[in-house]
């Protein structure tokens, strides 16, 4: 069964500034609590979670003009997964970041989605510091 979770947060910082971090796939572990390492090789990214679990990912889209980043976790525990991060300009000094998790099994959407909620909080903290 399929699950879809979406979180969002408003950040008082320009969309370009936020995108500079979010759009860099090798820096995910700097703003996603619980991801302790991150390596990128072409369109393949491997993250390591706080429990030492490596999870391979495929980068699907890294579109600076739309400020949209999409990736898929390809670990066997997922039948399907698609993560989408959108950075949307609200005004020159404020943006909205939307982090969506669509996956099967649905319970993993809650688990990964919980992580993304924490990531958005940390992103805001860093960008507004």
């Amino acid at each position: 069964m399929y699950g879809s979770i979406r979180h969002h947060i408003r950040i008082r910082r320009s969309a370009d500034d936020v995108w500079a971090l979010v759009g860099d796939p090798a820096r995910l572990h700097t703003w996603f609590p619980g991801i302790v390492d991150c390596t990128v090789d072409g369109t393949t990214r491997v993250i390591t979670t706080g429990v030492g679990l490596p999870m391979p990912e495929r980068i699907v889209m890294n579109d600076g003009s739309q400020r949209r980043f999409q990736y898929e976790i390809t670990a066997p525990m997922f039948r399907t997964h698609r993560g989408t991060i959108d950075v949307i300009e609200l005004d020159p000094d404020e943006c909205l970041v939307v982090y969506s998790t669509d996956c099967e099994p649905r319970a993993m959407a809650l688990v990964i989605g919980g992580g993304t909620a924490g990531a958005l909080d940390e992103l805001k903290r860093q960008m507004e510091a």
Partner: protein
């Protein structure tokens, strides 16, 4: 030297599983003796009928809407107040041993402190507990019991029933003799099972304390929550073939479905398997498929687990007596919520505010040195009264942030101090299926109103007469003769129900 506090909780235990509450299947002489020597509460309700919100209420003394753990998977904020912290600050030694569950178990990102201690080989401190030693329903997860079993008896790890299936849903796989969901033959030796481990670790912690210390120890058994997989060596205690069907089970399917149809529509929808509104029941199982023999077998296995807990408590009490502490130890026994247990043909738990889930065993054996006389209390009390009670036992003022009142010692005391009502709330939102209940229990009535959600338009409700319909078969919400009563109960409910914390805390995991 003051009074010490042993706080014993179980998980998902029905009121009627104890001998002192009329139970006839499990033998519970230890807890029955505590009830005989102390205060037995006949109408104790949780503020939520699932684990994380309910346990958060026990720790904070707050309504669910106030502490904000509105469904399983919502972590209790790190800075939430804690009665353990109050007691520790007053000089008490503090420990929680067993199932905590203030934070989600499913935690691959290792974001929650509760799951980090076993991984790191440490034991707290956390939330006011200087010693934090954790266990849950099996050998999985980042908890001390699982690590201990894996390191000392790795051959036993795979003996437990897998609580979750390969899709991380609550497992529907049947077992036992009848194919009942979550029934299982567990070949683990009794002394390795988590019930005895919790008692062993509690005794070890108590033995580590100097005789003169005051202490607060929360001993938290994971059973008799499903899976029903007690050690196989023990299941011969109770032959399920001889177990009577629970009073709340309706053997005739036509009558059972008539009763369900008198309740809000999500009852029948779940029964039929067309709607599973919450994570806590197996997604791939429909209660309609449950046979009477499966109910009997689950009841028997549940009773075996209750007996093992009773015996484990007896060992801990013997250790306390051996230390010479008994005269100054208050013992409080309860559970976080109940179990449907076959009532109306249903099993497990969910958004159903009926006695199977809401009426709890609660016993307070005051320290004999306190001079409090044995009593039975019929007035409604709640979990949010526990933390204030611990403060009162310790001789401390009840902090303003606690929303309960120290438990009454008898009905006269309850009347004098205004124990008129108890509230219970439910909120869940699982992939677009949201359910919201607010319940008041007062004057022998249970009244639940449904807020608008996936399956309800905000007009539905339940109203039960506890004296004349103790099995809650006839929903009188729409009875015109009770319109004034219903209105009065709802007005009282909204007068006392705190608003939900804002912003609404986020769900971080299914459980």
């Amino acid at each position: 030297m003051g009074r010490k506090i042993l706080f014993i909780t179980t998980d998902q235990q029905r009121y009627d599983t104890l001998g002192c509450n009329g139970g006839t299947i499990a033998r519970t002489p230890v807890v029955d003796a505590l009830a005989a020597e102390g205060v037995r509460y006949d109408r104790a309700h949780p503020q939520s009928v699932v684990c994380m919100p309910s346990r958060s209420t026990m720790l904070t003394g707050q309504h669910v809407s106030t502490h904000g753990v509105w469904m399983n998977g919502v972590p209790l904020p790190e800075d939430a107040p804690s009665v353990a912290e109050v007691l520790h600050d007053a000089g008490y030694r503090t420990a929680i041993i067993g199932k905590p569950h203030f934070e989600p178990f499913l935690d691959p990102f290792a974001r929650f402190a509760e799951n980090g201690f076993a991984r790191n080989g440490t034991f707290g401190p956390h939330r006011g507990f200087e010693h934090f030693e954790s266990a849950t329903h099996g050998a999985a997860g980042p908890l001390h019991y699982a690590r201990w079993l894996a390191s000392t008896h790795p051959e036993a790890v795979g003996m437990f029933y897998p609580v979750l299936d390969g899709l991380l849903e609550v497992n529907a796989m049947g077992g036992g003799d009848t194919g009942a969901p979550q029934a299982w033959r567990n070949e683990i030796p009794r002394e390795w099972y988590h019930t005895d481990w919790v008692a062993d670790r509690t005794i070890a912690w108590l033995d580590s304390l100097p005789a003169g210390d005051d202490w607060f120890c929360w001993m938290s058994f994971p059973d008799p929550h499903h899976p029903w997989d007690p050690p196989a060596s023990e299941i011969g205690r109770i032959d399920w073939h001889d177990v009577p069907l629970p009073a709340g089970y309706i053997d005739d399917a036509t009558e059972r479905e008539r009763v369900l149809d008198g309740k809000p529509r999500h009852y029948r929808a779940w029964y039929e398997g067309t709607l599973v509104s919450n994570y806590e029941a197996p997604l791939a199982w429909a209660p309609k498929t449950m046979t009477a023999d499966q109910v009997r077998e689950i009841t028997a296995l549940n009773a075996v687990e209750v007996e093992l807990i009773d015996e484990a408590i007896g060992r801990v009490l013997a250790a306390i007596r051996a230390r010479g502490w008994d005269d100054d130890v208050d013992i409080v026994f309860t559970t976080d919520h109940g179990e449907l247990g076959g009532d109306f043909g249903l099993m497990f738990k969910g958004p159903y505010h009926v006695d199977g889930l809401m009426r709890l065993p609660l016993i307070w054996r005051p320290a004999p040195s306190s001079g409090i006389a044995p009593a039975a209390v019929g007035r409604p009390v709640g979990h949010l009264d526990l933390a204030p009670t611990f403060c009162a036992i310790a001789g401390l003022p009840v902090p303003e942030w606690m929303e309960g009142t120290p438990l009454p010692v008898d009905d006269a005391d309850a009347d004098a101090r205004g124990f008129e009502r108890v509230l219970t709330e439910w909120d869940s939102d699982l992939f677009g299926v949201d359910v919201h209940l607010r319940t008041i229990t007062r004057d022998g009535w249970v009244c639940t109103t449904y807020l608008p959600g996936h399956s309800h338009d905000g007009t539905e409700g339940e109203l039960y007469d506890l004296a004349n319909d103790p099995l809650q078969r006839e929903n009188r919400w729409d009875d015109p003769s009770l319109t004034a009563l219903r209105s009065d109960l709802l007005a009282d409910l909204w007068d006392h129900q705190p608003p939900m914390r804002s912003p609404l805390p986020k769900v971080h995991a299914p459980v």
